[in-house]
Amino acid sequence: MKAYRNYQKFVVIFLALYLVIGYGFKLTQDREIFPIFSWSLFTNVPNQINDYGIRIVAIDGQELDTPFYYEEGKDTFIDYDSAQAYFNFRDFGRALTAGNTERVEEIRGYLESLYLEEAGQIRYEVVARSWDAVDRWNGGGFLTEEVIAVYETGQ
């Protein structure tokens, strides 16, 4: 009976700790410690989105007449519609804006090999953008676009 009572207490403490750690890391550092998660999914309704995009400007040394964002590259990249890619680009942009060189190099290492290099030698811009979601869904453009860095894969 004692073991049973202890188990009940363990479950309550476990879930309480899970909540504290999950929410704590989300609220203080906006990150998670796998496999604990705040379960913050679609919590914020962004009235205006400020994000970062990867804009492709040259492939294998050939300048593109019309540079395009990674998510528009259906014919060039397998993962063009990947949410994982989008969030990695976001983290990359955030690290650049914060001037966190170590994090920039860390993310760049896997970002290029996971998403870009499959299409050849890519020159790309990291662009800070702002946009209205409903407006863009209905064909509108970005409110602002600012290039914050330019890189070439493997260099």
Partner: protein
């Protein structure tokens, strides 16, 4: 603490609506069903491990760089190819053993560890996905199920009760996670409302949420355009989703609400796919196993009972009836 736990349980379930025998109206039946569901769960884990590995094992072997989460940090030392071979082989072997010899705790422990590593590797590419977090929690809680011959404890009320308590704790963890998500939606929605922003409590809230989710990755979904451009259709769905998520933790204390709530949450995931192209399909399977087939849910389908046991709505009905009978 035990007293406080009892008080909490009493507060969350609706006293007087339970069967006289308490939370386990037919304990023997519940035990038989729970045992079967646990066995099925481990077979489904084997299926999921196979699905993940057949899709990705060879692709993962070719990777040059990853961002390993802590359960697979050691891949930095072994190299990716050897690392994924170890993770893949151990996940396959332990999931087969756990599916075949579910009653042996050692195999459940080994499976929980290797499954954690497999899902850890799957999440070692920067952004973390959450499709298997609830599964990981269930594999963790099921470790505490009794070790040895489950048939032998069939005739012991106390041991059956312990088994069912562990089973219920896994259910509680799953619904608790949904509630955590709901608390944040409601809490942040209030903040946005007070700030005068468009949020969950604004009729345009869902339109903005759906549009931003799809535009970010240049995707579309079957019902997306309808919902984005007709906010009045989407808003009630958004509010309902927040209600269902938030009150999940209450529903877990009400066995008569398990089936309904499990179905609601599964439909919420189906709806998310049609509106936002979000594929949380692994959770649909888990909800079906643990809740739609909940061993604690009474047999039969009685709409008034279901309504009376719905969190918040059921409580309001209860209060109304109470007040009405007091007036008489």
């Amino acid at each position: 603490m035990t007293k406080q736990l009892r008080r909490l349980r009493g507060l969350l379930r609706i006293e007087g609506w339970m069967d006289p025998a308490g939370a386990f109206p037919n304990q023997e039946r519940a035990y038989t069903l729970a045992r079967l569901i646990v066995r099925l769960f481990y077979w489904v884990v084997l299926f999921e491990v196979s699905r993940l590995l057949t899709n990705s094992w060879f692709v993962w072997q070719e990777l040059e760089e990853i961002a390993p989460v802590w359960p697979v940090f050691w891949v930095n030392f072994t190299g990716i190819t050897l690392g994924i071979n170890i993770i893949g082989a151990s996940a396959y072997i332990t999931s087969i053993l756990a599916a075949l010899f579910t009653e042996r705790r050692i195999f459940r422990i080994l499976l929980a560890i290797s499954f954690l590593m497999l899902i850890g590797f799957w999440n070692s590419f920067g952004k973390i996905n959450h499709g298997y977090h609830t599964w990981l929690a269930v594999t963790f809680f099921f470790i505490f199920l009794p070790d040895g011959n489950w048939k032998a404890i069939e005739n012991s009320v106390g041991k059956r009760h312990k088994f069912l308590t562990v089973f219920w704790s896994a259910q509680a963890a799953v619904f608790f996670f949904y509630s955590m998500s709901g608390f944040l939606k409601v809490g942040w929605g209030l903040v946005q409302m007070v700030s005068g922003e468009i949020g969950i409590f604004h009729p345009m809230g869902f339109s903005y949420q759906v549009a931003q989710s799809l535009v970010k990755t240049n995707e579309t979904a079957l019902l997306a355009d309808l919902i984005i451009n007709n906010p009045i259709l989407g808003w009630p769905l958004y509010l309902s989703a927040a209600y269902i998520e938030t009150f999940s933790i209450v529903a877990v204390f009400r066995p008569k609400a398990h089936r309904t709530w499990g179905t609601f949450l599964a439909l919420f995931h189906v709806g998310s796919f049609f509106v936002m192209n979000i594929r949380f399909i692994t959770n649909i399977l888990l909800l079906g196993l643990l809740f739609v087939n909940s061993p604690f849910a009474p047999a039969g389908f009685h709409i008034p009972t279901i309504l009376r046991n719905l969190p918040l709505i059921g409580d309001l009905i209860h209060l109304y009836n109470k007040r009405k009978s007091a007036e008489i």
